[in-house]
Amino acid sequence: MGPLRDASDAALAVAIGRWREDALAEAFRRHAGSVYALAQRVLRDRATAEEIVQEVFLRLWHAPDRFDPERGTMRAFLLAQAHGRAVDRLRSDASRRRREERDAVRSVQETPDVEVEVMDLTIAGQLKDAVLALPADERRAIELAYFGGHTYREVAVLLAAPEGTVKSRIRSGLKRLRAGLADAGLEMVGGSDT
């Protein structure tokens, strides 16, 4: 077997395309922790989060060509898949109802932002700096959308801000984070800046 531990995303995808189970295992070793953590954070449900990890990696096994190394990292690809699935589940009727009840309770109590939706500031230093450098309203909009699994319209309601404003904050916040990470020397892939 080749040195899979040092294999690039692209090499790993090729090996998975050749039915090498050890290559899938290596992709799992590298990314499954983050994939699980994201799904768990969005859904707040361990069993469903585990289900999503399974789905995402089985899909990688069966359709590795869906991952295009030219367009981004395998981690971003897997996380986007997991996030999409988590959000789909969240927006299915039953869970949506439960969710809305929870949110109603929360807004009545005006609970401070100490919940799961808040970004994890135990993250690595450069990322932490970039996150902390974000204007608070941009950061909050991203948190609620990404970790809370809300649509920007829902975020607008939660933050009592106009929809258009929230939409812009999410986009400008993501751009600001990217610039901050680049300034800090963290190489960002995924297409060149325009």
Partner: protein, 255 residues
């Protein structure tokens, strides 16, 4: 709305879209646009990389999750059915699993077979179990029968890369081995013979010439260094080194 450039309007949504924070119809609108606009596709990709940074954690996945996924790989529909024909439509990706050419490819073929076996492992386990249970009836000699019954023996299924041809090999701890159901190999034209090889690291060691229509075969596989078995078709009296791609390969479980 008629005054708004549709490109600008969609652009404003790209951040929310990348975080799955748009409604269904907005999503469709964005995706329609992305199909035509490389610049916006690049922006979405960038947003997703940033999001991935936010979501990255050093934590491991829950205990046991990989084992469950690996088990799913083995439980593909068809693979567990016991019907070899049912496996064939499940052999996608012909480009990456097509015929391998040349001696240098032999090692790669073994690697491919490992993947295939992982995928069909459940089926193999069934086949081995069935064989172990019906050895007397299947006309295998008493020595092979005893080897199959020995829990210390290593058993593997040699399979072609397309899963079409499968036979079982059993190797006793002392190296005596038996190839069962070798009749699964298609009969060769006159002047050609099957040859069995032990794969030990980079080395290919001949274990014997099997003839053009082998049945049950006894061989001696040497020590525990043999990691895999392979069968090639060779001309005449066989070859010193395999001259063709292995037709079937099987990895022996580690001792």
């Amino acid at each position: 709305m008629s005054d708004v450039d549709p490109h600008d309007e969609v652009q404003e949504l790209l951040g929310a879209y990348a975080l799955d924070a748009v409604d269904g119809d907005e999503r469709e609108r964005v995706e329609d646009h992305l199909r035509e606009c490389a610049r916006c596709r690049a922006e979405v990709a960038q947003h997703r990389e940033v999001a991935a940074q936010l979501a990255s954690t050093g934590a491991d996945a829950p205990e046991g999750l990989w084992r469950r996924i690996a088990a799913e790989l083995e439980l593909e529909p068809g693979a567990a059915s016991g019907d070899l024909a049912a496996i064939l439509p499940l052999a996608p990706r012909p480009a990456s699993r097509g015929p391998l050419v040349g001696i240098a490819a032999a090692a790669a073929a073994v690697v491919v077979a490992v993947g295939v076996l992982g995928w069909q492992g459940h089926h193999d386990a069934d086949q081995i179990r069935r064989l172990r249970g019906s050895v007397a009836a299947s006309g295998v000699g008493p020595a092979a029968s005893a080897a199959l019954a020995d829990p210390a023996a290593r058993v593997t299924v040699l399979s072609s890369t397309d899963g079409r041809v499968r036979l079982t090999a059993v190797v006793e701890p002392d190296g005596s081995g038996y190839l069962l159901h070798a009749g699964a190999l298609p009969a060769l034209p006159a002047g050609e013979t099957y040859q069995l090889w032990a794969v030990s690291g980079a080395a290919r060691i001949s274990l014997g010439v099997l003839g053009g229509r082998p049945e049950t075969v006894a061989f001696h596989a040497g020590g525990s260094g043999v990691g895999a078995l392979a069968i090639t078709a060779e001309h005449g009296g066989g070859a010193v080194q395999p001259t063709g791609t292995p037709l079937v390969t099987g990895t022996l479980p580690a001792v």
